[in-house]
């Protein structure tokens, strides 16, 4: 039995939590899926580290422009209201706490919000950080989007991160295929959990102490 949400469904769930008018950066990888599921009627402004505010969707191949790409190096469009700036101004937006929200992938999220998403620290791997550390420290809210466990079943939500950190105490909320979890000063508080899982099972799959939030909802999403 497939118990958890698909990545598209997690993206859909995150999209529901982005308020109208928010300025948002979607990290490279899974987080970019969030843009596909924005609820109708909300005007969301997407920021891309390479100097773009007001990024629109990928254009058809015959309308692509090499000078118009996002931080993931993918072709994009500009929406009416978009603006272009240089990298120092773009990261001023990030570091200066002007972004409402950033959604980042994660290797590990620790109980205190520590985020590891740039390096496994593996011997011989080629390091590369891009803008992740700036986003982790700068966005007003950081949502981590991640599978609850690795393919080998190891928890990605951990008591202490063992991978090299991207940012200390960076994450405000974690969205996984199994649950939505707030990082609070008192610890990890589960706001939503998928149907068919009991809290003990969720605990077993989580590498850090978790408690249900005051109101524990159901994490669900339409077929996507």
């Amino acid at each position: 039995m497939k118990q958890g949400l698909t990545r598209n469904q997690v993206a859909w769930r995150i999209a529901r939590d982005i308020p109208d008018g928010a300025i948002v950066n979607l990290g490279i990888g899974q987080p970019v899926l969030v843009a596909n599921f924005l609820p109708a009627g909300r005007e969301i402004v997407f920021h891309s580290e390479n100097g773009i505010l007001g990024m629109g969707p990928e254009p058809p191949e015959d309308a692509q422009d090499e000078d118009l790409i996002n931080a993931g190096k993918q072709p994009i469009t500009l929406l009416p209201g978009a603006s272009i700036c240089h990298h120092a101004d773009s990261f001023a937006m990030i570091r200066g706490r002007h972004l409402d929200l950033c959604v980042l992938g994660a290797f590990q999220v620790a109980a205190n919000g520590d985020l590891a998403n740039w390096s496994t620290g593996a011997e011989g791997a080629i390091p590369g950080v891009g803008g992740a550390m700036d986003l982790a420290v700068g966005a007003r809210a950081v949502y981590a989007m991640t599978d609850h466990c690795t393919r080998r079943g190891e928890p990605k939500i951990v008591a202490r991160a063992t991978y090299p950190l991207t940012g200390r105490g960076a994450v405000d909320r974690i969205y996984t295929d199994l649950a939505v979890i707030d990082v609070t000063p008192a610890g990890l508080a589960v706001r939503e959990m998928v149907r068919g899982l009991d809290f003990a099972e969720l605990r077993a799959r989580t590498g850090a102490p978790i408690e249900p939030a005051d109101r524990l909802g159901v994490l669900e999403a339409p077929e996507l």
Binding site: D20, G21, I23, E43, V45, H47, L53, G54, L78, L79, P80, G81, A82, S83, I84, C85, A88, D89, F91, A92, M93, I94, R95, G96, R97, H98, L99, G138
Partner: protein
């Protein structure tokens, strides 16, 4: 929907309260958000800390705000000018405090506030009275003083065009401190000579991206400071 347009200058400044720190754009007669300042006078907030390159001219705008005894403290680079008698009288009477900051340091402190920089080392003012009491450091053989970001509650800015996302352009030398103050304030309030449709400003021509702007109000025919001074205008 994102719509930062507000209907009047009064509405635009309605939440500026006593004791606020307010950045006011402009350099000389270029870029002064005079109508927003007058709305602030009408609003009545007192005990303000005001940041501007200068300290007002004639008896309108910032000079009028000073004359109405609303400003407890001025942070500026050069308070004196040919028409700065309003500030000068208050200063000599001990009714307004003054902090003088070198112009480049003022600009950089505003940018640092907007860019999330916690502090920076500048060579400006080393060994001078304006560098006194500041932490100093020698880096690669050059001496620097440590300066901190200058955050503010509000910014009042004059722009040329604006759209409902808050994207701005400025006219000629009226740009001056505008883009920096927009970044540095918690709430940035802009009067623009004209409002553009969304998409009506070329993305490459946007000088201040809307992310740094909170409210936009149209003031199609802003007062000319030069003419107002020649006429001897007073506000209110």
């Amino acid at each position: 929907m994102i719509d930062k347009r507000v209907a009047s200058v009064a509405e635009a400044v309605a939440d500026i309260t006593d004791g606020a720190t307010v950045l006011i754009g402009g350099f000389g007669e270029a870029g002064s958000p005079t109508e927003l300042i007058h709305a602030l006078i009408d609003r009545g907030a007192r005990g303000l800390t005001v940041v501007n390159n200068n300290a007002g001219n004639g008896h309108i705008g910032l000079a009028a705000l000073l004359e109405q005894r609303r400003v407890a403290r001025m942070i500026c680079t050069y308070p004196r000018s040919s028409h700065s008698e309003a500030f000068e009288e208050l200063y000599r009477a001990g009714e307004v405090a003054l902090e003088v900051v070198p112009q480049g340091t003022l600009a950089e402190r505003l940018r640092a506030a907007g860019a999330g920089i916690g502090g920076f080392y500048t060579p400006t003012a080393v060994g001078t009275p304006l560098g006194e009491g500041k932490e100093t450091r020698t880096i690669d053989g050059r001496d620097y003083v440590l300066e901190y970001p200058l955050h503010a509650d509000f910014a009042l800015i004059k722009a040329e065009r604006a759209d409902r996302w808050g994207n701005l352009t400025y006219r000629l030398a009226a740009r001056n401190f505008g883009p920096l103050m927009c970044m540095a304030a918690e709430t940035t309030i802009v009067q623009a000579r004209s409002l553009a449709e969304l998409g009506g400003i070329d993305p490459e021509a946007v000088v201040t991206p809307g992310i740094f702007v909170d409210r936009v109000v149209a003031v199609p025919e802003p007062m000319s400071e030069r003419e107002a001074i020649l006429r001897g205008d007073r506000y209110p």
